[in-house]
Subunit: 131 residues, 10 copies
């Protein structure tokens, strides 16, 4: 299960200014709950879980009172490794967890998933703090 | 004939938020009804159908109540394989079929067709749900 | 001389929707009326005409009642092959001829000409149908 | 079924010299006999055939008495479109058919197949005429 | 633990000819036994295992009596997902397992691992059947 | 410590016009105060300082009365070499120092930092002179 | 000294339409008045002039009554070859000279200068004809 | 008709040393004698000649007593513009004409022709002076 | 001073096979003893040391009894950070130090240094164990 | 006139080993003695010299007793700036001058000249010290 409790923050040293932080990793992996587009039941039985998914995750945000601590973000993203979760949930879940942890002025999360069944998928979700 | 009845959907898990889903495949192929820019009648007689066309199809949409199921989309796109259909119809037809199936808040379909007669064609069509 | 009479059209199958058609060819060639940046009179005498120019031509338009037929467009572009014509005229002339033939809702023509005298030139012209 | 009888040749105009002809197309498609890495029985039943495969085919040869006629080669490659055939057979079969038709001094065929199950495959086979 | 028993083969349909099969996947992942260049004990305790490693694996071989079945190869590579194993062992172990399964005429395995500590590593190992 | 006193300016020769100056260097390096995402205490003890960070720094500004002298900017950026400083501070500090030195009409500083822990970070901050 | 008197124009054949002309050359070179970021007095004494600068110059404009003649523009740009001139002056001077010669509806000049002292500089200036 | 009499040479200033000269142009165009892979009789009647072909021509040689004069080579390549000639003949004819004109120690000519019928062709021929 | 005593090794787990390990980092930096191509004495006085140099270092080797430990290699390369050392010495010194530490069957070190004075330098040195 | 007397050397610190030094600059410029492929007499009269040529110069050598000093090489290459000299002479002259100055074990010089008359030229010459 994703572990948002791993996320840590530190005080934003330039909180009086709107500035943007972008972070990206090509190393996100999770499992597909049902084996996904390309697997059948026999495969899943062998592996005792869903077929692996791979994605690049891009995160862009304008910090408010705190910034996301980079090492804790890495650990948080690792925590999806052995969970079964659909693409749409991955991206929206990361957005919700990071918004809860850092309360940013705005944030965008993009998940760029590897080809499955000849189709590539990119999911994008955004948050903007109500004024 | 394109088979829109192959398309399946599942409930959008984050329907309270506008977010974007992009899907792309370089593996679209159909036939040209009249043989197209580069073929003559003799060729068509040999093959009992039109000359093959190849395209990359890009689909971008903001889901409303449901999302398009990826595997069913793959099968739907395969169903053009042995039909004779012009470029303009391919793109507008896919848009119409996907809008009918998923009732998205908005959708864009782009067909990027391979060079024929030294000319490359890219067709783009968009839909926006009336408010 | 460019032969706009070669251009053919067919009824737009989705005329109730604004959608965009982009076509591009790297195979445009014409002659320079005066030999251009890089030739002198001796060369021209040898070749009985101007020095060759080469360009990629990009055409983007929103069709109205009719679409441009692809094969006829190819033949029309070939008809510049042995004419002497300046860059600015090439692009504006193609725009005028295509607008006259297809009466589109809007159109853009871009001519991206090869390096001459160390200088590369790109000319862009646009048309928008008066409402 | 692949139709090698479509292949035509013409006399090599420079047969006294060893020279090399390379031809490549990104538009090869066939079907997978068993549905392949990514499909299950339900999909195949729907489509009444195997899942589509896509490849770029590269052909390099040194002609001897005859050259392969380009248009006939295009038609021959189209004839795989609705056949179920494994990757290894595609490449070796094309090599055998082209060698039989053109009797070249040497030939190499490379099939660069699209990603299936996260894996990309490239198969290469060569022929050298015995002296 | 890597599961070589997942590997399956099928008879080489062109065993009388030396030809080459190349397969590549950017989706290899395993764990580092000691946390690797970039992790400390606290991280490992959290994740109950080593830090994830990511690699592209390239396999090139000349088949002898049998070919590697693609789907089984995919499952075999998945079986490294939750094992702790060093880079050098990953590449040599895959080579040993695939040689044992397919008895090829020759084989090369290359593991191209993602940056760790600012350093990228690529390991290559080869096998050649004794005559 | 960063040495803003190294920065020099010269009178803007075209101060009556708004025009833009962009400068970029891939050669920025500083140290991470705590060793960063990828280092532990043992490493830091060895090096008597934090782990090195590397970045490309992009600066875009519209000069007002003065322009930044290029050589002095190079020396100023060198002055971060042996300081421990977090990514967010690097970018905001450079922006503050350059704004103080040149009083530009507007300025943007972007720091594109190398991968650490599989994550790449890009920080962007902007200044606009109050009217 | 730059020689704006070299610039020639010809009547704009489509003056009733706003269209854009873009020209670019990677072959601009001038000298730095003081030797620049990377040279010292000894070098300059040897060469009896400043250190060479190199740039790509991009020019975009909407012609009004006249167009810039391409060959004369080439000669004008050559005339900077042995002059000492700073980056900011190069770009603004070219803009001023071309505006004076062609009186365009609008114009933008961009100078993209080679790396000096590890820093790359790009200067952009624009002109818009008052209505 | 190709005009080899346009070719001029000048004495090789370093004839005592084997060194290599490579020249390439993306601006080669000729006509296809029979309209080629993509044209039919109606098109050809319209244009009073074959369909245009386009190629990049690469020439590599080791000069002996003379070098090829660059401007005359340009004119020679222009002389193919309105001739109908097959790909194989283009490359071998250029090789023969240049060898006759310059008597080089060795020479290679490569013609890289644009896509026709979805197929790209590259033809390579070589000459080596007998010792 | 470079600190070869930081280098650690571990037993080669596949010592009975010749296989290749390639490692590369774009994060090498040292100082130039005399300020280098682009600096003068005034700059150096300010910085109390030479001007910074930046390079990508590539290391390829065939291990014998031991492999280089990746983390220790990172620390060793960091130890050049504040030393003044010429390009030629950097590459040959790294080769000597790594050969002394790992006694490989063969090794190649390549240093690809950033542009200085408009010139880029790449130095390559190799070692082969005497048999 | 090229000034080989500007070239300086320093003792090779690793003369007991064959290792390779590669240097490249995109900033070489000279003049064409006769105005070259693209200029006529009127242009040359205006500029009181030939038309400018631009090239990237690549130098690869194995040093013997001495290495080429980088700053002096930069100055030497600048000394061609206002000389009229043909491509073939540029490359062979640089080779001769550098061999005379550094007496290397081997050396290769490549001049990659910008497009003139639609043709790009690359000249390569090599030297090998007699044993």
């Amino acid at each position: 299960m994703p572990q948002p409790e791993l996320l840590e923050t530190f005080p934003n040293p330039y909180a009086d200014r709107d500035y943007e932080i972008f972070m990206t990793t090509p190393e996100f992996t999770s499992l597909c709950p049902l084996g996904g587009v390309e697997s059948d039941a026999a495969e899943l039985a062998l592996l005792k879980g869903g077929a692996p998914d791979f994605a690049t995750i891009n995160i862009t945000y304008v910090p408010d009172a705190v910034c996301l601590e980079l090492k804790s973000l890495k650990l948080y993203l690792w925590s999806f490794r052995n969970d079964g979760i659909f693409y749409e949930r991955v991206v929206n879940r990361i957005l919700d967890d990071l918004v809860a942890a850092a309360q940013p002025r705005s944030m965008k999360v993009v998940g760029d998933f590897n080809v499955r069944g000849g189709l590539k998928s990119i999911i994008s979700a955004e948050y903007r703090k109500p004024r």
